[in-house]
Amino acid sequence: MTEEQKAEEKKGSILVVGGGISGLTATLEAAEVGYEVFLVEKNPYLGGRVAQLKHYFPKLCPPACGLEINFRRIKDNPGITYYTLAEVESVSGAPGNYDVTIKLNPRYVNEKCTCCGECTKACTTEIPNEFNFGMDTTKGAHLPYEMALPMRYVISPKILGTDDAKRCVESCQYDAIDMNMQAQTINVKVGAIIWATGWKPYDATKIDNLGVQYRNVITNMMMERLAAVNGPTQGKVLRPSDGKEISRIAFVQCAGSRDENHLPYCSYICCMASLKQATYVREQFPDAKIYIFYIDVRAPGHRYEKFYKKIKEDENIFLIKGKVAEVQEDPDTKDITVVAENAVTGEKIREKVDMAVLATGMVPNTADTKLPGELKCDPDGFVVSSLAGGGMFATGCAAKPLDVTSSNQHATGMALKAIQTLVSS
């Protein structure tokens, strides 16, 4: 008779702050080996930046599929408690024993919501759609995005106390809307904390020579939304000023990156993102001319190099070594002219295009928001993990600029570091 091998009982809990791809991975990796995990996300949905992308590179598959699997795993795991619209207010204690206060902001929609959408129809207030970087608006009552987790509508505090709020409440036949919902505070005790607080695109308005004031100059993340089927143009890449189709487009690499006046570091993903976005344009406009202006194309590793080589084979994709440093707009046609020096031929180039995409870099959210607790940040605002002391770890783009694959690898590693803290304390 074989003796039953019982796994050692898992003691202690882990807090993961941030429900993007890194936070989701860290949560699942720790929870699926038996630890209790609290996941805290400040947005009303999980998924983070990845949820805004049209495709991953280099496989060019939609992130929805990977997110769906992760959401399924989260829902199936009783060890995971996740909170959305939630923020960590304070952290005290030491590795192995932290007291954490979490503020839960009101969603004004409870678990009875069936996503029927009647409240959206009833609501008249339009608010800028942050999910689409303000390129369109959304109603005061809306679903964050098609496959949001939790699958539940959210009501903007902006309509609080208005007639719209009343209309929303009246429209809901499931009693799911509660405009009296208040913010709550909860306390959890955890042994380790993983900060997966993510990133935001660099504020392009700080770059005064790349024409960010012109409508047809957009950022790479805006391009993702333009190309995504659930974006403001239902996935059709049309230029913002007049909805014209794209016949010529320029990608401006290192827009504010590797630049002491802006972000001194390389954000790692922007070259691959632009190469990927070239495929969005190519797919929709087979004859469009695509100009990519770069300092160096950084396609690290075998798979990315292969992707880069494949893109280079396209006869209508022109990769030009030379950073765009001046952008003009034709006031009548709203066409954009990008100016660069081709550093190989030594000629100044003025390329007139329908639209220009600025490949802006990543800024850690911790660059301008101080996190609670004794956390160290490097001069650029990235969180430094206390690998020696244990207890507090940063992962994903809170730690350094990373792509999705590396974020997942990093998050898995940090989940293990968190577990080690629990085991040793």
């Binding site: 950073k323 440093a325 031929t345």
Partner: protein, 382 residues
């Protein structure tokens, strides 16, 4: 670019460039932002990106004979936008200094004028000449009575020094430097395809030179700068007051030797009034230059090297001693006025004698390069 190029790095040149204010050159990573943000760089083969890589690689022949470094007016728009703090504006300024040294004749003077270790020697030369001259003729004392500088330093002795300086020394030394320079920029422009004509035709070149003069007088290139546009006014004041004082000097030369009218002249004399106005403009201009250079323009804009400051301080010394000589003369302070005049002559000597070797040589080199750029049909005359 199809032609292959045998790279022969001149490490010594790179080191020299660094001491001339080009210490940031290795930071450049060739993004070419500078060539685009430069408001005065030409469309074809723009600068300064290509100069930056040539500087990093120690490709001296691509730099000292390069007219483009002289088309640069150091607006510093390039340095302001440079993502790496490589300061292309400072590098090109350093290259210009190296060019002056490179083509200088005699070479040893070309080397010691920009060398901060020898400032005392440069001052000692005129002091020694003047002391010997005055001592030998028995003038080395403070004269009695009404102050007249000619009683202390006879005009004939002054001219014995300055006339040969202006008519022999400068034409000879600078002439050699200039002809070397012209050959070099022509060869470089032809070799790099910047020139649309391969010959060097003197009458045509002179025509281009004439059409360049208005650009220089109006400072129209300088005024296109954005980051450093305040430097435009300072430079304009200094250039025009120098030109004015040059005119005044010639008028008084004619007055003295042809019309036989020795000084000092009345303060109401229109030429004297003009001279004083120019002196004031020069003082204001040079003070503006100093304050502009000391102004904090952020980490990407350098404050200049010894080569820049030695000329600015020389001009300041020149105008200060000149003005004080006049004021103390009018105030009847012989014990200050005469030594002040002596110091003034020392500075005038330095300005003239070291003209071909100091930053002041840019007056000619930049003019010639701008004219050549037009001659080569890169920026043709309108």
């Amino acid at each position: 670019m199809a032609n292959s190029y045998w790279v022969e790095p001149d490490v010594k040149f790179v080191r020299q460039l660094k001491t001339m204010g080009g210490d940031t050159l290795k930071k450049c990573y060739q993004c070419a932002t500078c060539s685009v943000v430069c408001p005065i760089s030409p469309e074809e083969r723009p600068f300064p990106r290509k100069e930056m890589i040539a500087a990093q690689w120690g490709l001296k022949d691509k730099l000292v004979g390069n007219m483009d470094v002289w088309l640069c007016h150091q607006c510093n728009d390039c340095s302001t936008y440079c993502p790496r703090g490589a300061k292309p504006g400072d590098i090109l300024n350093a290259v210009r200094g190296m060019t002056i040294t490179e083509y200088a004749w005699p070479g040893w003077l070309g080397k010691i004028v920009p060398d901060a270790r020898f400032w005392w020697l440069l001052l000692a030369i005129p002091i020694a000449i003047f002391l010997v001259l005055l001592g030998a003729t028995g003038y080395l004392k403070i004269p009695e009575g009404e102050i007249e500088f000619a009683k202390f330093f006879p005009t004939l002795l002054v001219d014995l020094v300055f006339v040969p300086l202006a008519t022999l020394w400068i034409p000879l030394t600078f002439g050699i430097g200039i002809s070397r320079f012209m050959k070099a920029i022509h060869n470089n422009a032809v070799a790099e395809g910047k020139a649309k004509r391969n010959d060097l035709n003197i009458p045509d070149f002179l025509k281009s030179l004439v059409c360049t003069i208005p650009t220089i007088l109006s400072h129209s290139k300088f005024s296109q700068c954005t980051a450093n546009k305040d430097r435009y006014l300072a430079h304009l004041l200094v250039l025009f007051s120098f030109a004015g004082l040059f005119v005044v000097t010639n008028i008084f030369f004619v007055a003295l030797y042809i019309l036989q009218l020795p000084g000092p002249y009345s303060q109401a004399n229109p030429v004297k009034i003009f001279a004083n106005l120019n002196a004031i403009a020069l003082l204001v201009g040079v003070i503006l230059m100093i304050s502009n250079r000391l102004k904090d323009r952020g980490p990407n804009v350098g404050k200049g090297s010894y080569f820049d400051w030695s000329l600015i301080l020389l001009v300041l010394g020149l105008v200060a001693t000149g003005g004080l000589s006049e004021l103390t003369r009018l105030a009847h302070l012989p014990s200050i006025a005469y030594p002040m005049y002596f110091a003034h002559l020392v500075f005038v000597f330095c300005l003239f004698a070291y003209l071909p070797f100091s930053k002041l040589a840019h007056l000619v080199y930049r003019t010639l390069a701008m004219a050549y750029s037009r001659y080569a049909l890169r920026e043709p005359c309108e």
